[in-house]
């Protein structure tokens, strides 16, 4: 089996399990909506307009929803020793990473795709063409978030404190891309010239590329038995 087909088979397996249960997906979407609501209700409506908070809220919501999604990625495999079965399968560890990463990315993008229009609606963001650019930034950020997150969640799942350790270890890695994504979002929404936000997008793209390559190289070390 070629490496690409193996990765697609693993991603397909994960997504099929998600689709059959839908518990994780529904929970992640509801969680994202709840985070949006928390921001609406945790402010003084008289002094702070939702629109002023919009860029920050978007990135807090997407980062937290990603954390929730990544937590389940390997917990699924821990039950009934499924991970051992996966490691015994005649596929390379790199394919295993790509399969897991693709499934995580698809999962996160679905959650993002539902949360994004709700964010536009709840926070009174102008529905202009610039929103497509912000959506593009969200896709770029999701690629980096999940590349790092897949590797880290494969490690934290080996401990009894997986749910606690994942955010503690992952968030420091997510802060540079969050800074870049939020920096770009603010400027795009204010219709600033491209020169002012393109640097952030380039940084985000570089982060994705570097950490995808690094994670492909390091994941086999994590999975060594």
């Amino acid at each position: 089996m070629s490496a690409v087909r193996a990765a697609l088979a693993i991603a397909g397996k994960d997504l099929r399990i998600e689709w059959r249960h839908r518990t994780a997906l529904v929970s992640a979407v509801v969680f994202a909506v709840l985070v949006l609501l928390v921001f609406i209700f945790a402010r003084d409506p008289g002094t702070l307009a939702p629109r002023d908070l919009a860029p920050s809220v978007l990135w807090v919501t997407l980062a937290l929803a990603t954390l929730l999604a990544l937590n389940r990625a390997f917990l699924l495999e821990r039950e009934h020793g499924a991970l051992d079965g996966l490691l015994l399968a005649p596929v390379s560890r790199a394919s295993l990473f790509w399969g897991k990463w693709l499934a995580n990315l698809a999962f996160v993008l679905v959650v993002d795709a539902i949360a994004f229009p709700l964010w536009v609606m709840f926070f009174g963001v102008d529905p202009t063409a610039a929103l497509w650019l912000v959506a593009g930034v969200a896709v770029l950020a999701a690629i980096g978030f999940t590349a790092v997150g897949t590797t880290i969640s494969a490690m934290t799942v080996r401990t009894r404190f997986a749910e606690l350790l994942l955010p503690v270890l992952l968030l420091p890695f997510l802060l540079p891309p969050i800074t870049a994504a939020a920096g770009a979002t603010v400027r795009i929404l204010e219709h600033r010239p491209a020169g002012e936000w393109l640097g952030w997008i380039k940084l985000l793209a570089l982060y994705d590329l570097v950490f995808l390559v690094l994670a492909t190289g390091l994941f086999p070390r994590v999975m060594d038995e």
Binding site: T159, L165, P172, F173, A180, G199, F211, L218, R221, V222
Partner: protein
């Protein structure tokens, strides 16, 4: 086994000797910078905190970078001693990180008027600090020493790759942190910012302080490495 324990004890002793020498040098730095160096014109006495703050930043960054470098070596050589060194270096890095994060606000209060200004450089030191706090949380949650070493090396390498991104974000983010006095990015000749950044009388204690903190790092890490080695031997004896 006894010979190995003796070797570990000898390493600890060597580490302590280096640490004592470094601490005596540190006392000399205090005397030199507080008593024999004039106050800086603009910042006054607050400037003197630089003699602890900047070398701590150097030692902490060196400590964290070495954790990553040793992580790469670990995957290459598969030597468990490298993991002991990484653990020691990370722990010592946390000590120097604590120094940066306390001296930074103490300096910022009289100069900027606030304890914490969300200055990117201090913020990202905090970030690196938290990353290594996570590193220790993960290590303590793992019982298998081989797994602990492997995962430690992975986080160390990922942290090492994250450092340039942290620096890039710092420079893209608007900063009010003073420009580095050593190793600052090149700028066009004749530009006022390119002028010799610090007069020799103020620079000399700083350079001595950098040397002292490097020695302090070596002393701390050698001691901590020896302690780690002895702890590992005790664990092995328990399981035998």
């Amino acid at each position: 086994m006894n010979a190995a324990v003796d070797r570990a004890t000898a390493i600890i002793r060597r580490g302590r000797v280096i640490t004592v020498v470094a601490l005596m040098m540190l006392a000399g730095i205090y005397v030199l910078s507080l008593g024999l160096t004039p106050a800086e014109r603009a910042q006054g006495l607050a400037f003197k905190i630089l003699y602890v703050h900047a070398p701590s930043a150097w030692a902490a960054e060196m400590a964290f970078v070495l954790v990553g470098v040793v992580g790469i070596l670990y995957f290459w050589l598969n030597d468990p001693r490298l993991d002991l060194f990484a653990e020691a270096s990370a722990e010592v890095g946390m000590v120097f990180g604590t120094l940066i994060l306390t001296t930074g606000p103490i300096w910022a209060r009289p100069i900027w008027g606030v304890w914490w200004a969300w200055d990117p450089r201090l913020t990202f030191t905090l970030l690196l600090y938290l990353l290594f706090a996570g590193y220790f949380a993960l290590r303590s949650a793992l019982h298998d020493p081989v797994e602990r070493a492997r995962f430690g090396a992975v986080i160390g390498i990922m942290g090492l790759v994250l450092v340039p991104f942290i620096h890039l974000t710092v420079y893209l983010f608007q900063s009010q942190h003073p420009l580095p006095v050593l190793g600052r990015p090149p700028c066009p000749p004749g530009h006022p910012d390119c002028a010799p950044s610090l007069p020799w009388v103020l620079l000399k204690p700083l350079l001595l302080s950098f040397a002292t903190f490097t020695l302090l790092y070596i002393g701390f890490v050698t001691t901590r490495y020896g302690i780690g080695l002895r702890r590992q031997l005790a664990e092995e004896a328990e399981h035998a």
